[in-house]
Amino acid sequence: MTKAGLSPTDSIKPPLWVNAEITYKCPLHCVFCYNPLNYASTFDKELTTEEWLKALREARELGAVQLGISGGEPLMRDDAEVIVAEASKMGYYVNLLTSGIGLTEKRIAAFKAGGLDQIQLSFQDSTKEMNDFLSSTRTFDLKLKVARLIKQYDYPMVLNVVLHRLNIDHIEQILEMAEEMQADHVELANSQYYAWAFKNREHLMPSREQLEHAEAVCNQFRARLGNKMKLYFVVPDYYQDRPKACMNGWGTVFLNIAPDGLALPCHEARMLPGLEFPNLRDHEVRSIWYESEAFNAYRGDGWMKEPCRSCDEKDKDFGGCRCQAFMLTGDARNADPVCSKSPHHSVVTDQVALAQQPRRPDDEVRPLIIFRDDGNSRRLS
C-alpha cells in the first residue's frame, strides 16, 4: 500500500516469480483443474507473442527472475518455443509445466536450444477414461516416451501427480510407474479445492484413512529409493488447522498472467468480487505491481479482520488464502477458515467429516463429476 510520504518502492518488494499461463486450451479434462470455470472465454482474447514478450520484459526489468510457462497446456501454442527462448535470453530461469502431450523430440530440442531450464511433467490422471487410466497402455507408452526424451535432453525428470479420492488408492501403481520413468522428483499433491476442483470437491476429497494409506506407501518407497527418487507428499489443507501462507502473501513475490493478459496475484484471484484486475494490454507491469488497487488490496495486514488482526501468527501465514476465505465465508477479508481460530472453521471440518463416509462405487460417482471441458466452461460462464 502506498502510504503518505513513502514511494511505492520503499514498501513494496518487486515481483520475483512470474507464472505465464499462455493458454487455457488443453487436450485434457482434469476434474481437479484450477483454471477458472469460464476459461473458454479467453480463447479469442489470448495475448500475442509480442504482447507476451513485452510483459515478460517489463517484469524482468522490475526484478522477476523465475518464470513458469504453464496453461492449460502450454504446448497448445506453437510459439511456446519462441517465448521460452526470448525469456531465457532476458535472464529468466524458465520452467515449462506440461502434461507432455505434444512434446515431440523436435519441440524439446528447440526448447533445449532456447535455454529452457526445467520441465515439470504432470501425470494426467484426468481424461474421461479416468477409471481405466492406470491400465491404459496408450497413456503409459506416451509417458515413457516423454520421460525418455526429458532424460535424453539432460533434464531431471520432475513428475507432478495430483491425488484425490478417486485415484489415491492407486498410489502404489502410480509410484511404480514413476520409478519406471526414472523420475528424480515426484510431487504427490492432493488437489486443492478451487475452480473445477471446488465444483467436484466432495468427489475429490480423500478420507483420512486413504491419506494415511497413501502416506505409508510413500514412506515405503522413500525407504527403498532414498535420494534416487525424491517424494513430496502434500495433504489437502482442509485437513490442517492452520492455513497455508498463500503465495507467500498477496502481491509480495508472485505475478500470474492469464492468457487474456489479466494480471493476478494468484491463479484464482479472478473470482474475487469488487476488484478490477489490470490487463497487460493496457498497463505496464510496473504500475500494475506497485500502483493498482487490486495488487494493493491485501498487501500488509491493514485489511485484516479479527481473529487475524491481533493474531501472533499473522506474519507467518498472512491469514491464509483470500480466495478460499471468499469461497467458504463470502468475504475475502475473513481468516481462511482452514484456521481453527476462524469462527467459520466448521465449514472446513464439516467437509472433512463428509469425506469420511464410505466411498461410493465409481460408476455412481462418475456421472456426478463435472469435467473441465469447453462445453461445461461455456455453460458455467
Binding site: 518487486p14 520475483l16 522490475l62 526484478g63 527472475v65 523465475q66 535472464g91 530461469y93 520452467n95 531450464d117 526445467q118 515439470q120 539432460d154 531431471p156 520432475v158
Partner: protein, 90 residues
C-alpha cells in the same frame, strides 16, 4: 564430504549463477527458487567456470584482495556449497 582442492569445479545441473541488478546481488537460481548471495559468496562463486579448482579460486581471491587471509573462509564456503549440491567436481 570433503572437497578435492585440485579438481575443477562447476555448477550442478539446474543451478545457475546470475547478477541481479534489482537485488544488487549475485543470486543462485534453481527450479522454483533462488538464493541471494552475500557479497563474498558472490565473489567466490562467480569464479567457478568449469576449469578452476578450489586452489585456483583461493589464489585468484588472494590476488584480488591482497592482505586478507581468505583461505579458511573460502574453503569452508566451497565445502558448504558442495555439501548443498550447488557445485560439483567432475
Amino acid at each position: 564430504m570433503s572437497l578435492a582442492k585440485d579438481k575443477a569445479l562447476r555448477f550442478a545441473r539446474q543451478y545457475k549463477l546470475q547478477w541481479e541488478k534489482a537485488q544488487d546481488a549475485w543470486v543462485l537460481l534453481y527450479p522454483e527458487g533462488l538464493i541471494k548471495l552475500t557479497e563474498s559468496a558472490g565473489e567466490i562463486l562467480k569464479r567457478i567456470d568449469g576449469q578452476c579448482s578450489a586452489t585456483d579460486i583461493i589464489n585468484s581471491l588472494q590476488a584480488a584482495f591482497p592482505g586478507a587471509d581468505l583461505q579458511q573462509d573460502v574453503t569452508d564456503f566451497l565445502e558448504h556449497a558442495h555439501d548443498k549440491g550447488w557445485i560439483i567436481t567432475d
